[in-house]
Symmetry: C2
Subunit: 400 residues, 2 copies
């Protein structure tokens, strides 16, 4: 084994969309949250980050990171540095126990990462990005820690990244320890437990730049007089309710808790000073249409949720694809991208729903306010792959 060898490991990592929202930190540097949260990991057939971590004694000094082809200034990113330091420290422990191991912890890291979705899609990529980075370096270092254990490190990169280390239905326990040791992500149920969960992401056109979520949540914690009630009382009860709903595959309860928590999250944003508004008239049109759709169907077939932005994410079950995704397809018309590809197989137009029975104003506002959609569903956690973005000699490779 030459000490010029390039060690490599490559992983994919998924996006997750919370149904119980993370909003508010009790410790800003460790990304410790004020409340637990819960998300659905989305299929990597639709959205994923691909990251290769490599290291070599032959690399020039200093870790480097290339994102979507652009070199990043890693030294200015405390969050990235915290993740890499956490991973190196675990590698050092291994090396101390087994002196025969190569001293990878001493080698410079060369990390290359690519998203398969356009930035224009308006999706926060930091969760998938930090999850992939942590997973890839952990694989490179052959760390024995579980995904839950690694979630402590990924959390320091981006809070919600800790949930992208696991597939299916994932809880991030807020924890109570000052050092964050119990603030970890764990599986509530694997994707296979409730595999027919689908998600339709509607990408709102010309979305205005929002208040960044880190800044927004700090403002809410500091100023909203309703915030403590959500964090201390409302969310714990909802966590219990939605975990039970997931275990029972009870879509009605899952949907209602999801929608209510999205609303409460945006309510405490509005209650902040100065107020924060992520939802706009297009978002509200989607809210109205989901309520209309559930009313027309005579049962709960769809649930909306909104992160720190205007894009509606609509959860529904595969068996209701035609009524839910089909109705939105009919409303949005043909000028909207994204209906093809994975998860489009069962999609027909608005089966069983007369568009005239929907709020006509909401139909107009939504129809003219969405530029693309992403059809996806519940999926697995990070996967180790061989499609490296760093070559055997350390060269950065082009995207496939």
């Amino acid at each position: 084994m030459s000490d010029q060898k390039v060690y490599r490991a490559t992983t994919t990592a998924p996006v997750n969309i919370a149904v119980i929202k993370y909003w508010g930190k009790r410790d800003a540097s460790l990304n410790l949250p004020t409340n637990s949260s819960l998300s659905v990991t989305l299929s990597q057939r639709s959205l994923r980050t691909l990251t290769t971590a490599s290291c070599s004694a032959s690399y020039p000094a200093g870790d480097t990171l290339t994102l979507n082809g652009a070199p990043q200034d890693i030294t200015s990113s405390k969050r990235t540095l915290a993740c890499l330091e956490g991973l190196r420290s675990l590698r050092r422990e291994l090396e101390a126990k087994d002196p025969s191991l190569p001293k990878l912890s001493n080698f410079p890291l060369r990390i290359v990462s690519e998203n398969n979705f356009p930035t224009a899609a308006g999706l926060a990529s930091s969760a998938a990005g930090f999850a992939a980075l942590v997973r890839a370096v952990a694989d490179l270092y052959e760390l024995p820690q579980s995904a839950t254990e690694l979630s402590r490190i990924a959390r320091q990169g981006s809070g919600s990244a800790c949930r992208s280390l696991l597939g299916g239905y994932v809880a991030w326990r807020a924890g109570t320890q000052a050092d964050g040791s119990d603030s970890i992500a764990e599986e509530v149920a694997p994707a296979s437990h409730w595999p027919n969960m689908r998600a339709l992401i509607l990408v709102v056109s010309a979305a205005k730049k929002d208040v960044p979520s880190t800044e927004g949540m700090q403002t809410t914690v500091a100023t909203s007089e309703l915030f403590a009630t959500r964090a201390n009382t409302v969310v714990p009860a909802r966590m219990d309710a939605i975990e039970k709903a997931i275990h029972n595959r009870d879509f009605h309860t899952f949907a209602e808790v999801t929608m209510r928590d999205s609303n409460t999250f945006h309510a405490v944003c509005l209650d902040s000073w100065p107020p924060i508004s992520y939802m706009n008239d297009v978002s509200r049109a989607a809210v109205r249409l989901v309520h209309d759709l559930n009313r027309i169907a005579g049962r709960t077939v769809a649930a909306y949720t909104f992160d720190a932005g205007p894009n509606p994410v609509i959860y529904y079950l595969e068996e209701d694809s035609d009524i839910v995704a089909g109705t939105f397809k009919s409303i949005l018309g043909s000028g909207v991208e994204g209906w093809e590809g994975p998860f489009s197989d069962v999609l027909q137009n608005a089966k069983g729903v007369d568009l005239k029975s929907l709020d006509s104003r909401a139909v107009d506002v939504l129809g003219s306010g969405i530029t693309r959609v992403i059809l996806t569903g519940v999926g697995e956690g990070p996967e180790k792959v061989d499609t490296h973005l760093v070559g055997e000699k350390g060269e950065i490779l082009k995207s496939q």
Copy 2:
């Protein structure tokens, strides 16, 4: 005195716009609120209801009410009946004490009422309407009760009507009694204490029909998990703070409490199930511009507040008319009605404010979303006038 005589009394009554919002009833039939509220009575030079109450033994049996020229079905309005019954009962007490008084309580009432503002202005007229009705009948009956005592009756017509019986700065004390005897309006300060308070009402075009406020507030009380915190904790502290601000003519605090309470009110609406959204993108553009304006001015010159609808009401002081109303005039351009008339005297265009320093997107959204404005300011309570809407022979007269 012939028993065919037509007795008449005529009054005007003002609109009021709350700065601490009334939202939620603890008793729906008595209109007893879950929290105290506080409003500014607006000048009747801009907005008023004119009501003549008349009665006569010569009238056919049955009370009648004509609103803006249209006869109303009084028997189907429990709220109107409750007000009239309360007033008749007080008259009966007088007649019992002094048998020489004409038995007006036995005569049919003929009430005629007109607003001087178009329904299209999107302003809730029920507060001014019930205040005028109660005041006019009380004057007709020569009742000795004070405005605060009469507010118990007006409250049963429309909660916020109790505040329109008084001028200036008016608190509606929630009270604790089950019969509502201590749920009354009282003057915090007369208009003369802080006479330079101005209000600019921006009327949003094509406003969609909202969830009626009575239905909306019942939904919030029943379903919002944040509501109790607002009603029990947040509002009491804000009532204290804003009353003190009014006494000290402290616009900065008045403005901040006003804006925050509007935001909290709309937050609990959004937190309701199903969620209620009264504000739209035009409303939010006004919010943004007020924050921008305060930032540019380097001090608090303006405060927004929103009732159960999208129309922004902007409070400011007369000495800041040019910077506040002037800026909005510049933004809205010449296609918007309502800049002329009372309170327009000091108005110039955007004095000292470079429109380019405002959020350009908000300027565009607001500029294209407002059809008319109403310029007004703090004003007096109901006033007795001689311009009767019922003639000496009981005939309904045309509006002036």
